[in-house]
């Protein structure tokens, strides 16, 4: 099982208030967050969920306090009834920004600074109790730099992406992702087809719910699947054994009449650009680069030898060594290419069995052609879930599926999500709310009638 302690090389979530960032624990490597720079060495060996403060550029563990509105010293401070006499001016606070910076430099604790701010506030005593709590909470947020290290989960990663870069994930809000995973019945031993352009967040979420079992076939646009989010999860290598990829631009060759001859694939130009399932490590990028640079490198080597001597390669032993190395390089490339073609053919066979347990589509592309092309490979009585940032493409997909037949319980839905502030005598929905989290089209496949039958 997963270790509850923070270890080096793990991808973790660094959190300050509502701000999340994925970082890797690397000794002596500093990270930046909210204008503060520090190393993560101080976290190693502590449990996930621990809180830390920055001291001299290092993280030091602190006991987290779970009452942001309270200091514990205000018991004796008086309070007012309402703000009828409150004047909002800069003179209310006697400490200047320079004073505070100086205090911080001296090493005064954040809590202490907040206490000083209260002492030097002309109006604090006249504020209502609630206003005082709000004031303390606000000052603490500003002056206490407490960082928490969390284990990455779908819930936190989705929130992070939605808050910081929603366009990366097609505006997929947490409730929409939650519905997708449930409606698609993602669970252990399931075989799921995924088409997504959400930087791998859906793939990661499905992998989390599969727990290393089952099968994923991810269809990707371009030359390689984007799985940036998957890296954050620290999945063990075994989770990738049944992870397969298939290029979207070859989906039309999956039809009933297509050839399964590997030679046909080679001539289709399914060459160096292939990148079937692989564990996303830092070696990925260079490997792909090598493959693409092979022809260039060959040219470069030839040029070099010609420049050097102007004579035939075999004229002296040094040159023949270079030639042998070059030949080995080309052979290795060919091997790699052949193995990738073989992998692609294996994935093709998996898909064409036509007994996948579900289809999830969540991309920036028109869903209808994708769904119409892939739904035949889903077994009967299985869910299909199509997400779109907009409802028009889903309405179109709905009508096309109705025409096609073979799908029951077609429903288009969206979920409405609202957060609440719950405090004694101050409970109300929060002031800001998300306006949209996308739409879903769901349905259940069934066997289609044979032609001639009703």
């Amino acid at each position: 099982m997963l270790s509850p302690l923070i270890e080096e090389h793990q991808q973790v979530l660094l959190k300050k208030e509502k701000n999340f960032k994925v970082v890797q624990i690397r000794k002596k490597r500093p990270v930046w967050m909210e204008k503060v720079k520090f190393t993560l060495d101080g976290t190693i060996g502590h449990p996930y969920g621990s809180s830390f403060e920055v001291q001299d550029g290092e993280l030091v563990r602190v006991v987290s306090k779970s009452e942001p509105e309270v200091l514990g010293t205000e018991g004796t401070i008086s309070k007012g009834e309402d703000n009828r006499n409150l004047q909002d001016t800069d003179e209310n606070q006697k400490l200047s920004r320079d004073d505070i910076t100086a205090m911080k430099k001296e090493g005064v604790s954040g809590e202490s600074i907040v206490e000083h701010l209260i002492e030097n506030s002309a109006t604090f005593k006249t504020k209502t109790e609630f206003a005082q709590q709000k004031y303390i909470k606000k000052k603490k947020k500003k002056h206490l730099a407490v960082f928490t290290i969390l284990r990455p989960t779908t819930r936190l990663l989705c929130e992070m992406y939605f808050n910081k870069g929603p366009s990366k994930i097609c505006n997929l809000r947490i409730d929409s992702l939650a519905q997708i995973l449930t409606q698609a019945n993602v669970r252990a031993n399931s075989k799921v087809m995924i088409v997504e352009t959400c930087v791998g967040l859906i793939v990661g979420a499905v992998m989390e719910r599969l727990g290393g079992t089952g099968t994923i076939v991810q269809f990707y646009p371009g030359t390689a699947p984007v799985r940036q989010a998957v890296e954050a999860y620290n999945f063990p290598k075994t989770y990738f054994t049944n992870m397969h990829s298939f290029p979207l631009n070859m989906v039309n060759t999956l039809g009933r009449n297509s050839e399964t001859n590997p030679n046909t694939q080679a001539s289709n130009g399914a060459s160096e650009d292939l990148n079937t399932d692989c564990v996303p490590t830092s070696e990925d990028a260079p490997e792909e680069k090598n493959l693409n640079d092979a022809p260039a490198l060959e040219k470069k080597n030839t040029k070099y030898t010609e420049m050097e001597s102007g004579s035939a390669p075999f004229d002296n032993p040094e040159k023949s060594e270079e030639h042998a190395a070059k030949r080995k390089f080309i052979e290795e490339n060919n091997e790699r290419r052949q193995s990738k073609l073989k992998q692609l053919e294996e994935v093709r066979q998996i898909i064409k069995q036509g007994n996948m347990d579900g289809l999830i589509v969540a991309s920036k592309f028109q869903p209808t052609p994708i769904v119409m092309a892939l739904i035949d490979f889903v077994a009967p009585s299985r869910p299909i879930v199509i997400y779109s940032q907009y409802h028009e493409p889903l309405a179109d997909c709905y009508l096309r599926l109705r025409e096609r037949g073979g799908v029951l319980q077609l429903k288009m839905t969206e979920t409405w999500l609202r957060e609440y502030q719950v405090l004694p005598s101050r409970t109300h929905p929060v002031i800001n709310m998300s306006g949209t989290g996308g739409y879903l089209l769901t349905g259940i496949t069934v066997t289609r009638p044979q032609s001639g039958q009703r």
């Binding site: 809180s51 252990a188 609440y420």
Partner: protein
């Protein structure tokens, strides 16, 4: 019941056993003792336990169980007066079609709960109250095959019914049902759970015990309450008990009907010096002018059962020369009614000490 003993047992069970029950894993064909879901129409489904020799009367005619055995899931079955489909059971279909013994949680809230509690295969969950086991089925689906659900119900018959149901569905090895009032006696579980879920009238009474039940490395908790007062009290006590990241939210489902709607053009009269084009109107377009849009769309409501070809025919019948705007418009129409409230979902994290 000694839970600590049970926990010790669980750790040594390797769950690579192939279970034949259709609730836990997908299978291709129907077998005797399977629970299947009969689909009779949109949002009209019934659960059925397949038993050799039995017959089930549907509105379309008699359905012989023997005919179902060996059939592929998702097949169409013809009956005397119509047809139906036989679907594979899932937690979601069960939620939609289970016999209600209490008010239940529906898939919208269930999805958020499972998501927010970070559940996955292997998770250990504590739940109270079991109720009609709607959420229980979804939890088991997510934590299988290596996780476990401890579910507590203070109503004896409901606890027994739930236990019987789990057994019938082939899920009993993944769940332990206890008849107990947890507000009075607590869970009696020490540091075993990754997550706790509460759907109780007074959840704050069991927060201390929930804290004890959660693992040392921490975990997640969720409390579902219909009333704001319950939510306020729960949040207060969660804070006192040392839980963090306390968040309360609501999640509601909006469903859309996708259909062609008729939005006719109003007659704005003739411009001066233009021939009267209204003279040669078809009777269809005359009707669509005088009727209220509402009445027309109720006529058009029948349109959704027409084929694409018939849609085109219908729009052509409305005089195209009058304008280049097609009166028939494809629209995603929100339903007239939507759920306004189910309950407030409060989530929190227990961090390690």
């Amino acid at each position: 019941m000694n839970f600590r003993h049970k926990i010790a047992l669980q750790k040594h069970i390797f769950c690579t056993v192939e279970v034949n029950m259709s609730f836990e894993n997908y299978k291709d064909n129907i077998e005797e003792d399977d629970i299947v879901i009969l689909y009779l129409g949109h949002d009209y489904m019934l659960p059925l336990k397949v038993k050799k020799g039995e017959t089930y009367q549907t509105k379309f005619g008699a359905l012989r169980h023997n005919d179902l055995i060996g059939m592929k899931y998702g097949s169409k079955v013809n009956a005397a007066r119509g047809w139906l489909y036989v679907l594979h059971p899932t937690a979601e279909l069960w939620t939609q079609n289970l016999p209600h013994r209490t008010q239940i949680l529906y898939s919208t809230d269930i999805s958020m709960i499972v998501f927010q509690l970070d559940l996955r295969p292997g998770s250990v969950v504590v739940e109270s109250g079991t109720g009609s086991a709607s959420l229980s089925h979804a939890l088991i689906r997510t934590i299988a095959p290596t996780g476990h659900l401890y579910t507590f119900e203070f109503h004896q018959q409901r606890a027994e019914k739930a236990a019987a149901e789990f057994k019938e569905h082939g899920l009993d090895r993944l769940v332990t049902v206890a008849h107990r009032d947890v507000c009075e006696s607590g869970f009696d579980l020490i540091q075993v759970a990754d997550a706790v879920f509460l759907d109780l009238p007074k959840p704050w009474e069991v927060l201390a015990s929930s804290k004890q039940a959660l693992k040392l490395e921490g975990g997640r908790i969720c409390s579902f309450s219909p009333c704001i007062e319950q939510t306020q009290k729960t949040c207060e006590v969660l804070q006192e008990q040392g839980f963090s990241d306390i968040t309360t939210m609501e999640c509601l489902l909006r469903t859309f009907d996708i259909r062609m709607v008729n939005i006719p053009e109003a007659d704005l009269g003739q411009a001066e010096c233009e021939p009267n084009v209204d003279a040669g109107q078809s009777s269809m377009s005359k009707n669509s002018q005088s009727e209220e849009p509402m009445e027309v769309s109720s006529k058009v409501a029948k349109v959704q059962t027409l084929s694409k070809k018939e849609y085109k025919g219908l729009s052509a019948a409305i005089d195209p020369k009058r304008s280049d705007r097609n009166a028939l418009v494809k629209s995603a129409v929100p339903q007239g009614q939507m759920p306004g409230h189910t309950g407030f979902l409060t989530f929190a994290t227990l961090y390690p000490a």
